[in-house]
Amino acid sequence: MIRCKSNPLDRTLAFSGTAILLVVILLVFPFLSMARSGFSNEASVPQIIELLAYGWYYPLALAVGVFVLVIPTARSILLFSVILRLKFRHDLVRTKKMFRLSEGLMPWSMAEIFLVGAGVALVKIADLAQVGFDVAFWLYCTLVIVLALANNAVCRWTVWSILQKEAGLARN
């Protein structure tokens, strides 16, 4: 039995739009900071990825960046534009492709795992230095919640049935 979710299009649009905004803002703020014996350091998410990227570890930095920033953002952008296209009945053939891609990206979106990783990393360095949560950390927490809400709001059934109806109309 498939039960349609209530108001799935508007909710998906709202949550994916919020996710895009959150990513843009959190890129520029520091994520975590630490200090010990007069030395201190703070790093934003792109800086963390950049520091990892040298020599043999370039692919690793690339993978981390793709899994924790690029794919969650790409998925949000895809969902946002799919819903807009459905609402305005714009180029539905491409919309199908975009929706399939966003569904395919789902297992590779690892924002929530990164956040748990941040928790473990903090425990690890708690004895070593003073650690502080910065703006981007809280924004990232919000992003994880918003992404979960967006995933929950997407109703594949509704999207495919609208696309099917439109495809039927186009043929007649």
């Binding site: 030395f39 790093a43 690793l60 993978a63 748990v116 990783g117 473990v120 360095i125 495919w160």
Partner: protein, 198 residues
């Protein structure tokens, strides 16, 4: 009853049903195949690569830390022991499960599913489908240790006081997780329903 029994094809992406002679899905435009081509071969190839990467991933250190002049590195299991000795039992358990138990369990489950498909073992279809969905759902959580290393490297850069650098084990372990995820994705779940079972 399967679609294939009545001369129909089910779309892998959106689930709609088509006549066997159709080549693309009328709803989502995905290419239609009754069963994905070479699905088990691809899954085996990724799985074996994943197992090969998992060995150095567990034997070599994930990171190297230099704290006040003394340098040391530790592997995944040594990291778990360090957390345990420090009294952080929850974190030790999370890392043990996500980075050690899960990758091995995932490999065993994928191997079992592939063997059961190829040798047509009579194992309950629903149980096997649950196993398949389990590995699809939890496979990515093994990346946790990689993200911990990335964060530590990015954050602990305090000149002579303390620095942390990634080590070769981290690369191998990440490659292993990615390969086993690709292996799980290569399995066509419809093949589970082709063998005997209840």
């Amino acid at each position: 009853m399967r679609a294939i029994d009545v001369g129909l094809v089910g779309c892998h992406d959106c689930g709609s049903v088509h006549d066997a002679n159709q080549s693309t899905c009328r709803i989502c435009n995905a290419p239609l195949q009754s069963r994905r081509k070479n699905s088990t071969q691809k899954a085996w190839a990724w799985l074996i690569t994943g197992v090969l990467f998992l060995i150095p991933g567990n034997l070599f250190p994930l990171l190297i830390n230099s704290i006040l002049g003394s340098t040391s590195g530790h592997t995944i299991l040594e990291g778990v022991i360090l957390f345990y000795e420090a009294g952080n039992y929850t974190v030790a358990l999370v890392i043990l499960v996500a980075s050690f138990v899960l990758p091995i369990a995932k490999i065993l489950i994928i191997a079992f599913l592939l063997l059961s498909i190829e040798f047509r073992w009579a194992v309950d279809h629903h149980k096997r489908l649950i196993m398949y969905e389990f590995i699809e759902l939890v496979g990515r959580w093994s990346m946790i240790d990689i993200f911990v290393v990335a964060l530590l490297v990015g954050l602990v850069q305090l000149g002579p006081v303390a620095t942390i650098q990634p080590a070769i084990g981290c690369l191998a372990f990440a490659a292993s997780v990615i390969c086993t995820m690709l292996s799980a994705q290569s399995i066509d779940p419809k093949l589970i329903w082709d063998g005997p079972g209840r």
